[in-house]
Each structure stands twice: as structure tokens, then as C-alpha cells.
């Protein structure tokens, strides 16, 4: 058992209102430089929809992630044998058109325009070339589906739906959609790291954050197609890959990452979990529908004395073990089993998890009349507006059982709370709902509290980062104290 600690996160999708505050916070802090203008380390997508970059989930086109033949795992994009002949032109590399061309407006035209009959306008100009452009795409072009069914129709997760389910999801008036905030998943088996010819990408041992060493990156660009989530980006100005750093400078000083801290809906939870790194290789070979369970198995119980002993033997400090015991992520993921990984079938074992959304039918239009459909307050999840097959393709590698478990438990929590607060559901019925969802009044209350009431300290359990240890290993602490706190000491310029 090789016990390691990983900083992990849960997104409670039922609470996401799609406001993009997280994206803007991230952009302002990290990607407001030339070359990074098109990057959104954090972005929020409308689902069903095509996302950013367009149709990123279509791995036949983007070639992201791993493929398994049951015995061996290989990268879909550039395996070692495919790298050498393709080194001069990466055939799987997406181009800027797959994202969008960043633009700004010539605001000065509003002031400098000569007097005339027309209102002056600020024309859009490309942030790459500085020339006028027709804006054709943006990072959230399909936000709220933009009033069109094109985006939903092109969602790759709709593939396995029956024609009726498809039609139901596409009819604009009855459309079921939800929001999906995405950042780098800081995977256990990162495809970007494995694909890097220069060895510039690495996973930090102590917290699992995946980073790019900017001095070692040589612009071979292998990580960009390799990442199935398209969360490594090419800085066209410096010729380096950049990606979400999980705000490690903030984490190291005990603060929550910018995206999480700014979250208006309080949908995000952060904490570390302990996992067994020895099992990654074998688990990644399992069939798609077993991967959710496999990943849960790798996450270890931080209260188990054997796990604690093994963790200590591996150099993990008491502080990190204690914070793993308090981790909200561990509760959602392992105790309650209502958090699921995004597209686990890419086999990178993403370490950010999602509580899948409930999309109940609350009312219906019959002719011109809107009728509340409240005969059954919390309808069966199969009657919900997002088909199980759709959510299953996103969150459980097609394993509908795991998805149904997570959703049913969430419904049961609502039934229980309705019984407690309003009382129009009697206790027998409420307890029956809990039992059917494999939960208890205590657990339901705990889920309710962490989902709805939890304060900052409960939502963000930032483990002690012990940078003092890292610094001592690298250089003299006194010298370090005299230097800059973090980052490059020299300006990252090209000659």
C-alpha cells in the first residue's frame, strides 16, 4: 500500500446557478496575460451543450485520455511509438479555432470618432493580430443554449439516448439543462503528464496537484490533445503549456482557490483524501462501468489504523491525516457515495467530483394552462427531465446503478427534510424513502447540513502544506526568506 494524499474537490451541481463568477475570478488572477487570453482554466458549461473547446468530449476527434485493451493502457493521442514520426506536426493538436479567437474592442473609437450623424461604435479587434474580426465563437457561446437546439444536438453524451428521450431533451420549451463548472481534474493517472516528451508536467507528491515546469516545457504540445478534459492550454505567445494550478500559492497559505472562494452558489467543497497509488495501474484497466467503484476503492479510510500507519510510513504528517479525516470530499465521495467523477471512462481517474443534479418535473403546460405537477412531490428519478442514460454517460462511465444510487439518496434527503420541516409527508413514508435509498435519518441530516448550511470552514478543509519542508530540501531557508515568495525569479521572456 503506497498511501498518498491528494487535494480534491466536490462540485454540488444542484446548487450551481451558472453565473461564471468562478471563471472570472480565475481569469483575473491567472490568465489575463498575452497568450493566455483565450484560456479559461475554469469555465462553466451548459449541459446539454457542446462546451469549450467545442465538443471537447468527442475523443474520436480530440484523441484525449487513455484506451485499455484489458491488459495494457495506452494514450489515445501520442503513444511513445507515435510521437517520433509525428513530432514535426502533431496530428491531434486542436487549433485556436476549436476554442475561440480572443477579442477586445477599440474603445478609444468611441472618443476619437469625428462628429457625424452616426453613433460611434467600438469595433471588435482580435487580441492575437490586433485586426478587426467578426466574432464567431466565445468561451461560453452556448450559455443557456443560446436559444438554439444546435448546441444540445451536438452534445456527444446524447449518443446513446432513444429518439424520444433525445426529442424530449431538444424541445426548447421543455429543455432540461444544468451547469457544469470545469477546472483541471488533477488526475491520479494524468494523460498530460504521461504524454509530455520533455517531462515538464508532473504531479506533486505531497498534494497531487498537476503542474507544468515552464522552464522545461519545450512546446511539443503533446499534453494538449492528451488531456481528455482539454484543460492544458498552449500559450501562443511564450510557447509553453499552461494549466490550472489549483491556486497552489493560495492553498499553501491556507486559502481556498480563487474559483472556490468566489463561488456564489457555494457549490464547491475542498479537502484532501488519502489514496493507494499502488492500485492505479491495475484499476485503470477495468471495464468502463466498473471504474467509479474502482476509484472509490482506491480512496482509503483515513480513520483505519492500518491506513494511518501506512500513511505515516510514507512520510505523510499527522496534520494531513487529521485534515483527511475532516475532509468534506471524503464524506460526499466515500461515505455517502453521492459524488461522482466526470467521464471516468477516460481512465485518468479525475480527482474532482460532481454531485449529479436532480432535474424534477415541477409543472407542465397543458394547452395554455401551466399545471403544477405536485401529486407526487418528489417524483421518481426516472421521470426526471435529464434521462439517466445522459447523466450516466457523463458521470459513471455508463453505470446507471451508481448514478441512480446518488440521485435516489438526494431525493430521499429532500423527502426527509420535507417531513421534518413542513410535515406533509408522514414519518412512515419518509423513513421508507430513506431505507429505499440506503440511508438513515442521521445521514440524511448530515447530507442536508453539509449541502445547505455548511459554513466556510466546513466547506474548505485546506490541509497543512508544510512548505517549510519543501523549502529546506531545495535551499537555505534564510536565503529563501530573502527572496520572492513563489514563482519565477526571472522574467519569462523569449529572446
Amino acid at each position: 500500500m503506497d498511501v498518498r494524499s491528494q487535494v480534491s474537490m466536490v462540485f454540488h451541481l444542484d446548487k450551481c446557478i451558472g453565473c461564471h463568477t468562478c471563471s472570472v475570478a480565475c481569469k483575473n488572477v491567472w490568465t489575463d496575460r498575452e497568450g493566455t487570453d483565450y484560456m479559461w482554466w475554469n469555465n462553466v458549461e451548459t449541459k446539454p451543450g457542446t462546451g469549450y473547446p467545442t465538443r471537447w468530449e468527442d475523443q474520436d476527434a480530440y484523441k484525449g485520455g487513455w484506451v485499455s485493451d484489458g491488459k495494457e493502457l495506452s494514450l489515445r493521442s501520442t503513444s511513445k511509438s507515435k510521437l517520433v514520426p509525428n513530432i514535426f506536426h502533431n496530428p491531434a493538436q486542436p487549433s485556436m479555432d476549436d476554442y475561440y479567437e480572443p477579442w477586445t474592442y477599440r474603445y478609444e473609437d468611441l472618443f476619437n470618432a469625428p462628429e457625424g450623424d452616426d453613433q460611434p461604435t467600438a469595433k471588435p479587434v482580435s487580441m492575437v493580430t490586433g485586426e478587426y474580426i467578426d466574432i464567431e465563437a466565445g468561451p461560453n457561446w452556448d450559455d443557456d443554449l443560446g436559444g438554439s437546439e444546435i448546441y444540445a444536438k451536438n452534445d456527444i453524451n446524447m449518443e446513446d439516448l432513444s429518439p424520444e428521450q433525445r426529442q424530449q431533451m431538444l424541445s426548447i420549451e421543455r429543455m432540461a439543462f444544468f451547469y457544469l463548472p470545469r477546472i483541471c481534474n488533477h488526475c491520479l493517472n494524468p494523460a498530460c503528464v504521461a504524454s509530455c516528451p520533455s517531462g515538464a508536467l508532473y504531479k506533486r507528491g505531497e498534494d497531487g496537484i498537476v503542474l507544468v515546469n515552464q522552464d522545461v516545457c519545450r512546446a511539443w504540445r503533446s499534453c494538449i490533445p492528451a488531456c481528455p478534459y482539454k484543460k492544458t492550454y498552449y500559450n501562443w505567445s511564450t510557447g509553453k503549456s499552461e494549466k490550472c494550478i489549483l491556486c497552489f500559492p493560495r492553498l499553501e497559505s491556507g486559502q481556498a482557490p480563487a474559483c472556490m472562494h468566489s463561488c456564489v452558489g457555494r457549490i464547491r467543497y475542498l479537502g484532501n483524501v488519502l489514496y493507494d497509488a499502488d492500485r492505479i495501474a491495475e484499476m485503470a484497466l477495468l471495464p468502463d462501468d466498473q471504474l467509479v467503484e474502482a476509484q472509490r476503492e482506491m480512496i482509503l479510510d483515513p480513520f483505519d489504523p492500518k491506513v494511518i500507519a501506512a500513511a505515516k510510513a510514507n512520510g505523510i504528517s499527522d496534520g494531513i491525516i487529521q485534515s483527511a479525516q475532516k475532509s468534506p470530499v471524503y464524506k460526499f465521495l466515500k461515505v455517502w457515495k453521492i459524488a461522482l467523477p466526470l467521464h471516468v471512462e477516460y481512465r485518468t481517474f479525475p480527482m474532482l467530483f460532481y454531485v449529479p443534479p436532480l432535474l424534477p418535473v415541477m409543472s407542465m403546460t397543458q394547452g395554455d394552462v401551466v399545471k403544477n405537477d405536485l401529486d407526487e412531490l418528489f417524483a421518481d428519478i426516472d421521470k426526471h427531465r435529464a434521462p439517466m442514460a445522459y447523466l450516466g454517460k457523463m458521470f459513471t462511465g455508463g453505470n446507471i446503478g451508481k448514478l441512480r444510487y446518488a440521485l435516489r439518496k438526494q431525493v430521499a434527503v429532500r423527502v426527509w427534510r420535507r417531513h421534518v420541516t413542513v410535515g406533509d409527508i408522514d414519518e412512515i413514508k419518509a423513513r421508507q424513502a430513506l431505507a429505499e435509498a440506503d440511508t438513515t435519518p442521521d445521514e440524511a441530516t448530515a447530507i442536508y447540513k453539509l449541502s445547505a448550511l455548511a459554513g466556510f470552514e466546513e466547506r474548505f478543509v485546506v490541509p497543512p502544506f508544510q512548505r517549510e519542508m519543501a523549502i529546506e530540501m531545495l535551499e537555505d531557508p534564510h536565503e529563501y526568506r530573502a527572496n520572492a515568495g513563489f514563482g519565477s525569479r526571472t522574467s519569462p521572456k523569449r529572446s
Binding site: 514535426f88 485556436m96 517531462g199 508536467l201 504540445r221 494538449i224
Partner: protein
């Protein structure tokens, strides 16, 4: 005297600058050691530019290095007329492939505003230098045939006198002007090499093929901690 400067002194200037400047740039500006790929900004013409150019120039360079290191082998191969002609034709074909790639590179950089945006003065200089080099190379191949043989008999010995720090320019003096231009331009490219995007040649990712799949960096010494337990 001019000959002595260009073929007896200039190569040394060029090589000294090359070594000192590449090492200095690697040590102080490792960040800038790459080719600054523009494939992300223009992904269609890139294939027709980059691929023929790189495969072409690597083969041509390989031929030159082979003639420098094993001249006897080349001469032995060329002893049979059919083999000599085959080698010459292959060389010329590969050189033309390089030229096509290079012209595509220049056109692509001029035609697409986004690609132009990331093209520096240094890039234009090196494209100019490479164009002169490839064009003179093709010119030599057409006008002064059987280059593979006379390279091995005349240029290789001259290069070895350079290596032995006893330059003998008498090998070069009778050479046609185009050959001289080709040689001077070659050392000019070596001279500017450390200041241009060409440095990416020095960081080809060979360790990738035998390194472990995943890279994990620890801030504590795992081996020591595991052994002490």
C-alpha cells in the same frame, strides 16, 4: 587572405560563439529554449510546411555528416556508377523537398496574420539564411555534379584540418563561388544558431522514450523516510 579568413578563421569564430552562447542561453534563459510552435494558431498549412522541411533537412544534414565522418564509405558506394547516380538523385530530391517545405513555411508565415504575429525578426533572418543555404545547395547539386564524391575527397579533409586546429584552405581555394557561398552561409547559420529558434534542435526529447510514464515530484525524501521505518 580573404579565403584564409572565411575558411580558416571564420569557422572558429562561428563555433566558439555557438558553444558559448548556447550554453549561456541554456543556463540563464532555459525558458526560451524551444521553437515556439505556431501550429496552434494555424493548423492546416502547418503540415505541408513543417513536415517536408524537417524530414528533408534532417536527411540532407545526415548525408553531410556521413560524408564528413565516413568519406571512404561514400567513395566506396560511389565506385559503381548506378549507385552514384542513385545517391545524387536522392540527394537532389530530398533537397527539393526541403526547399518546398521551407517556401511553404515562409508563405504560411506571411499569409496568415496569426502566424505572422508570432514571427520575429530573428525568425525571418533564419528563414532567409536557410533559403540561401538550400538554394545554393540545390544549385551546386545541379551545376557541379557528383558532389557526394568531391565532398568526400576535398571538403572532408579540409574540415578535418579545422578539427585539428591546422586549417588548410588550399582545399577550398579552387572551389566554385557557389560552393564557397554555401560553406560561408553554413557557418553563418551556426554563428546565429544560439540566438534563434534553432536551439530547439538541442532539446529533442529523447529521455521520453525510456522514462517512467508518470512523473511525481516529492518535497520530502521518500526513500529515507521509508527506510527509517
Amino acid at each position: 587572405m580573404t579565403n584564409y579568413f572565411w575558411f580558416g578563421v571564420f569557422p572558429y569564430i562561428s563555433l566558439v560563439v555557438f558553444f558559448l552562447a548556447t550554453i549561456r542561453r541554456y543556463r540563464t534563459e532555459s525558458f526560451s529554449y524551444s521553437s515556439l510552435s505556431s501550429q496552434f494558431l494555424e493548423n492546416e498549412q502547418h503540415f505541408w510546411a513543417s513536415v517536408p522541411f524537417h524530414y528533408g533537412i534532417l536527411t540532407v544534414l545526415g548525408g553531410h555528416i556521413l560524408a564528413f565522418l565516413c568519406p571512404q564509405m561514400i567513395l566506396g558506394w560511389n565506385a559503381v556508377a548506378a549507385r552514384l547516380i542513385a545517391l545524387e538523385v536522392t540527394g537532389l530530391a530530398v533537397a527539393i523537398l526541403t526547399l518546398v517545405g521551407l517556401i511553404n513555411i515562409v508563405i504560411r508565415r506571411l499569409r496568415f496574420p496569426k502566424a505572422r504575429r508570432v514571427t520575429t525578426a530573428g525568425d525571418w533572418f533564419i528563414y532567409g539564411g536557410l533559403l540561401v543555404q538550400v538554394v545554393t545547395g540545390i544549385g551546386i547539386s545541379i551545376n557541379h555534379g557528383w558532389g557526394s564524391s568531391w565532398f568526400a575527397t576535398s571538403l572532408t579533409p579540409w574540415l578535418w584540418t579545422l578539427v585539428k586546429f591546422n586549417p588548410d584552405v588550399s582545399y577550398i581555394t579552387p572551389m566554385p563561388l557557389m560552393v564557397k557561398a554555401h560553406i560561408i552561409n553554413a557557418f553563418l547559420i551556426i554563428l546565429v544558431f544560439p540566438f534563434t529558434r534553432l536551439v530547439h534542435i538541442l532539446v529533442v526529447p529523447n529521455p521520453y522514450l525510456w522514462r517512467k510514464t508518470q512523473v511525481v515530484i516529492w518535497n520530502w525524501d521518500r526513500n529515507r523516510i521509508r527506510k527509517s521505518n
